[in-house]
Amino acid sequence: MSLLEGIGVTKYFGGLAAVSQVDFKIPKGKVVGLIGPNGAGKTTLFNLVSGVLIPKSGTINFKTENITGMQSYRICRKGVARTFQSVNVFGNMPVVENVLLGAIFGNSNPSSEKEAAEEAMNLLEFVGLSEMRSVPTQSLTLGDKKRLEVARALATKPELLLLDELMAGLNHTELTETMELVNKIRDRGITIFMIEHVMRVIMSICDRIIVLHHGEKIAEGTPKSIAANKTVIKAYLGE
């Protein structure tokens, strides 16, 4: 059964089709990668799913419900959480409050503030930031900020997690740690849909891969089949 499904999703920016007639299915419990050259429409697709943008045509279903054009906070409360391509944390707030916000507001069955505080602490532990809990967020390193974003997203108790280039800009050690983190999240039963450029990550973590190019889906399949796919290679490397 697919947790998230898109049918003919299309979005124009002026005359440019940023995302054009894209169909996709994210099966429950899997890790699905979304790849493509720069400007392929990957983040736009995420923005359409999470309610930042409204598609011109097409439908997006989450579980059995049509969430097309719904407001972001409602999509979040239904169980779709995300992180951002350029890290987007609340810099002037202490680390723990970032997560606390998600625990309090992020779900349609709200936790009491005491429970939320506990959840926030547990999640900081989970991503390895519990030592940093009262530090101002802006003083964290990029890697820590990214893990904080993940913790904030997890605090909303999502069923589906959208990760937008989580690995970008990380050093080798951080990369390994973050890959472990993604695996740990999958083990919690959370479905993951991730945009990624780091091939090592995609090939080892993803169950399936979707490839976008110029806003269109050009391929879909297992990592192996994608690596061997001629159209994909052409899109990345040219003729």
């Binding site: 999470s50 309610g51 930042v52 407001q71 972001s72 906070y73 979040c76 409360r77 959480a81 995300r82 951002f84 987007n88 944390v89 609340f90 810099g91 002037n92 707030m93 202490p94 409050e97 606390l100 916000l101 998600g102 309090i104 507001f105 992020g106 779900n107 503030e113 009262s134 904030r152 997203a153 605090a155 909303t156």
Partner: protein
Amino acid sequence: MNWSKLELRKARTPGVLLIFLILLATLTLYASPYTVIFVTSIFMYIILTVSWVIFSGPTGYISFAPAAFFGVGIYTSAILGTELPLPIVILTGGVISFILALFVGALTLRLKGVYFTIFTLGLVELSKHLLLWYEIKFTGTRGRFVVLVDNTTIYYILFIILVLLLLTSYLIRRSKYGLALRSIGESEEASAHTGVNVNLLKTFTFALSAVFMGATGAIMATRWTYVDPYIAFNLQYSFMPVLMSIFGGMGQLYGPVLGAVIFTMLEEKLITEFPYYYMLTIGLILLIVIIYLPDGLVGLIQKWQNRSPEKQHVTP
């Protein structure tokens, strides 16, 4: 050792507050009429400033709308003052301001940054000229007389509004909504994706802050006895709360209070003793504050506290 000092300070704060409250609550018994009227003005500015900070402080939306809501309160009083009992008039002033702010907020809070600011500035001018047009077209007069209320009553009504406002502001700051408002100020996008109903929260908080401005306008009008649209919708009531908040600092609840008190006293002193240098001095002080104290007096106090060795940790 450190702990006991911190505990002591914590325990002392409510005591100091209580003494302040009692002194202010009994002010009319021992102070001169001049002092009572002067403190009334200070109260008015504290209310405008603190209620402005409820919304604009955490979210960073600079609103120049206070004069509009204040003016609505004034005209509520001017129109209904002779017909309804005073508490009802004041309540009505608050409610009408609330409704206007809800409407304006729903319409404009999608605007960000400077666009929102310019719109609120326009709102004041629009209200003023709409009213002026109405008065001249339909009543044939520019101004109105307002029912007279004695200074003691005005003082106590403002005192009550102020206490309610400080309580409201304190509770919002400590609540989950305070947290959500701050997250909006940091990043609206991230806040929405974390489950915060950004538009509703912004609109409602904006409207809540307008209640206090409207109610204050309704009672202040009775002190002036005569009002016209230029007096009621004077942009000074929009600028002052902004300046006083910057001066005091918005990081703590006492910041805007301190800003309003000191600024009003300074203004009074300068106007009465150095009328020619009044604006010049105010301008200079503001420049110095913005350049050297970007977090206002609160920032200065915190810097000073952090320098003293016993200070370890501040709970937000």
